[in-house]
Symmetry: C2
């Protein structure tokens, strides 16, 4: 098995300045796996209720996402509602209904246990630990998390961070974890917690990749319109690990490219609601967007 | 005459988390001209009092800065005092004593009037207009300004922006001038005001260069310690126009390099108080720092 992705699958309701959508595909795993699908065949582990639309499962299958590890339980799918302020300065959670996700205990199918790449997408760190416990071979593990777990499950998160190869967090979370505002100092503290690789996401300012003494900066693409930033971070990390799984190389130069492709997919994500910006993209779409990053940052 | 720089010369008193300094060289022109001196021989126009230290004039001469347009008046030099909060989130102006700068009326020596490059460093837009009125040949003009003039001299500033080739401002100022938070939209509004080239500085996040439909992003160097950010923007634009004056080419590719060298010098500036970070640099220092930008942004 090459890449497994463990995260949430949800139905989202989103209010943003450009419009509103209701009960659309969401959750970290949906974004991660669709983004990764442009580079490899991701295998997901997750749970949905029996109300989860067949059309979304078909969408996953269209993107060559293996659903063997997806459990469909009696009950309702996890639902999340959020509202963005003008200029996306702020996001308010309107509701969180865990439903079948409340008792989710990720169990890897046997065929998943020799994964070469594992993406622990954003879910409770206890569940992320449980996934790692089931692996039977050495994997390259990428961890995504969020402020909620830093606030509510810090000890489990810190022991988890020790176990992973790459930590991907945003600038606020880096600051919460390290009490450092300086990116270099924050990254060194995070590296000292365990991971060889640290990525700090800076929203529209792009992202920074740290490894040993090396730093790489990918810019944020300058976009005229952002419709819905939901899932942009998940999309970024999904494409990143998808690219790694395809190229099977963990050199700094290759990791730079993984980060660039993460940014390429994230730039598509924010241009439409839900996963609409990242579904059914053609190779030419990715190439054109990649070229924009080249023009924008290469001198 | 190749490059002329018109701006302020001051004695600064700075309080920052890393320490305090008093009556040190400051003002937009000091930073701009020293930064430009690594690429060309800048010619400055400005005024100081007869209390201005001879040692600072010697420092300018050491950097091959032509002082023909510098007037030394009876009286005291412009003084500015500022205090930085922890993390440099905020800067408070402690005092501003204009002194001889109050009646400054920049007069170009005849030898300056055929300048190929003109940097209107940060001073009142009325004075910047007056400089352009004295030019006798076509020049490439770069304009730097600040929030103070947007608040207090907007009409003069807007007519000035029409007359220049490149506008360099920071993200807050871009937002003040355009009411746009989106960088792309803000830049297009600024381009529509006149300048072919627009640079939006984003502090530690680097800078964006806009020209027609093209965008270039230079990252901010990740530095462990920032001692004093005073003059970093002036240093950036000084090195930028110095590089242009040396290379005499206004292609997008060359402008990218000018922006990178602006960032190289600005990264030295913030590492020490006053102009100490950018004085007496060796070619090898610049090359080493340039290489860091290459590693950090090229893929």
């Amino acid at each position: 098995m090459s890449l497994i992705i463990v995260g949430s699958l949800a139905l989202d309701t989103i209010e943003a300045p450009a419009g509103s959508v209701s009960e659309v595909p969401g959750g970290s795993s949906s974004y991660c796996s669709i983004a990764a699908s442009y580079f490899t065949h991701p295998n997901i582990v997750g749970v949905v209720g029996n109300d989860f639309p067949e059309s979304v499962l078909a969408l996953f299958r269209d993107h060559q996402i293996n659903l063997e590890g997806l459990v469909i339980e009696e009950g309702k799918t996890f639902r999340w509602g959020g509202r963005y302020a003008e200029n996306f300065d702020d996001r308010t959670t309107l509701f969180t209904e865990l439903n079948v996700f409340e008792t989710f205990n990720p169990t890897l199918p046997d065929t998943y246990k020799d994964a070469t790449h594992v993406l622990l997408a954003n879910i409770h760190p206890g569940l992320q630990h449980h996934v790692l416990d089931q692996l039977e071979t050495e994997s390259f593990v990428v961890l995504d998390t969020m402020n909620l777990w830093i606030d509510t499950a810090l000890d489990e998160l810190l022991t988890l961070i020790k176990r992973v190869d790459m930590l991907v967090i945003n600038d606020e979370e880096a600051n919460m974890l390290t009490q450092e505002r300086n990116y270099g100092k924050a990254a060194r503290k995070l590296q000292a917690m365990g991971p060889d690789w640290v990525v700090i996401k800076k929203g529209q300012h792009g992202a920074l990749l740290f490894h040993g003494e090396d730093v790489f900066s990918v810019p944020g693409l300058v976009l005229d319109e952002v419709k819905d930033p939901t899932g942009a971070g998940d999309t970024f990390v999904g494409a990143l690990i998808g690219y790694l799984d395809q190229s099977k190389e963990h050199s700094f130069d290759n990791m730079k490219l993984a980060v660039v492709f993460g940014s390429v997919l994230a730039s598509f994500c924010v241009q439409d609601f839900s996963v609409d910006g990242i579904t059914y993209l053609e190779e030419a779409d990715l190439e054109e967007r990649y070229d924009k990053f080249v023009i924008m940052s290469q001198f």
